[in-house]
Symmetry: C2
Subunit: 283 residues, 2 copies
């Protein structure tokens, strides 16, 4: 099955474009969990397990953020392996790794993310050049999402500046990815921030059929109504990520799982206007 097929099925079976970001910060995990599990790795695993359980009816994808697991070293990686194992096979797993390196190093990262962890897709950083993406796009059952436009203030340092006559380096990267897509069977998606809709339009015009991973909805403040307008008539599948707004929706309440589930459901409903044809075509 190609990555696009798997993603399409996940969107249809969940009826949702929501991606739940797994950024488990032990200090913010609800107190009722912290009281049960004193071991940090076990706490993180059990928290993620419950988040997956609570939100899977409302999400097409889960995006583990590697940094939050690596902060616990090898035990964190072991925890991540266990978390990925319990994500249902009809949902997509996107390893948020933002790796970017050359030749044999990139091949080893590909082996780590796709081979060892078994992720369906990975986020990548293109700064060192398009050849750094090659080892990740040999297999059309796997997807990549390349950093194109981010929503942090630092995006102004490089990504938003004019480049090669284009409005921004982001727009130029999107064009280059579009060209590379013509030579590749694999799915070459883009990571694009949701907070600046005018910039987003320019980037989408440069590469109008790529799948999108859109962070910045929820805690980071992206506006779903504006996003809906920008994505109208867009060709790829846009997956919209929210992490903290779902994970920590219930604070330290005993009912934190219900709060996370309710927040995920709210987002799923808010995202319905973007769904367009995906849900209607569901079998």
């Amino acid at each position: 099955m190609t990555y696009t097929d798997k993603l399409t099925k996940a969107v249809r079976s969940s009826g949702s474009l929501l991606c739940v970001g797994l950024d488990p910060d032990p200090a913010r995990i609800p107190a009722p969990m912290r009281q049960i599990y004193s071991d940090e790795a076990e706490l993180v695993f059990e928290f993620c397990r419950r988040i997956v359980e609570a939100t899977k009816p409302h999400a097409c994808a889960f995006k583990p953020n590697m940094a939050f697991f690596e902060a616990m070293g090898s035990r964190g990686w072991e925890t991540l392996e266990r978390v990925i194992d319990i994500i249902p096979s009809n949902r997509v797993v996107i390893a948020d790794a933002k790796r970017g390196d050359i030749g044999n190093t990139a091949a080893k990262y590909s082996e780590a993310m796709f081979g060892h962890l078994g992720a369906d897709a990975v986020t990548l950083n293109p700064l060192m050049g398009l050849d750094t993406l090659e080892p990740f796009i040999k297999d059309d059952s796997k997807g990549v999402y390349t950093l194109v436009m981010t929503s942090n203030s630092g995006a102004a340092d490089f990504l938003k500046r004019r480049f090669e006559g284009r409005s921004s380096l982001s727009e130029y990267i999107a064009e280059e990815l579009s060209k590379l897509q013509h030579r590749s069977a694999a799915s070459l998606g883009m990571v694009v921030g949701a907070t600046q809709t005018r910039d987003l339009s320019l980037v989408l015009d440069a590469n109008p059929n790529a799948h999108l991973l859109i962070p910045g909805v929820g805690s980071q403040g992206g506006d779903i109504t504006e996003l809906t307008a920008v994505l109208e008539n867009y060709g790829g599948i846009p997956v919209i990520n929210s992490s903290r707004s779902i994970l920590y929706a219930g604070g330290d309440s005993e009912e934190w799982m219900s709060a996370s589930a309710a927040r995920a459901l709210d987002l799923k409903v808010e995202l319905q206007p973007i769904m367009k044809g995906y849900a209607e075509e569901a079998s």
Copy 2:
């Protein structure tokens, strides 16, 4: 002790600017080792242990390449933890991670690399903006090496193109790092490829006092004589990395450790012209 102090002492006590890159590829580990250790993680650990043992008289630094450990998942991370533990404390450990992410994610990567792994320095990717470096430069006992100019062919895609009136995006990044260094107590180094000396000169002019991590000597073909000329009168400490040319110097010979030691010694000697004042000032 600041990172600069630790690096200076490591250079003086080893009399060397050589960094040994630890990119342990199980398929290329010498046959005599593969015959002893059937478990891949154990094989990698024992190989790295012997490489550190054989080359430490000739190197100021060791640079584990995260990808080669991550390809083995949590066991790879565990192996990396063990490898870092046996690197002598009077040598510098540079985690070659090339991470780059925002706010709380960057903070978690910093916790992973400096806190958990105990690396002295880390390589970073600046594409998402200078704010992504902040969590790594709060502590002057730790160093960072930011990707500025790489030696792969893909460097032509973005890094080598004109940017903001400068000769290249690389030059612009170097300038921005120089400005950031004025506001930071931590050591803000640069990763610069050794293969294009003219481009290297422009980048160094833009940021003439940063420490350097220079890959591309050995297997990747950087010329040490040209490099010596470019680095003359340069203010920072240039650490020159070689990985495969040292690790696999002996092929499958029983004498592979001696071959790796000899290759490291050769490189140490070849790099002496660059040493300038460092060795003479050694106590």
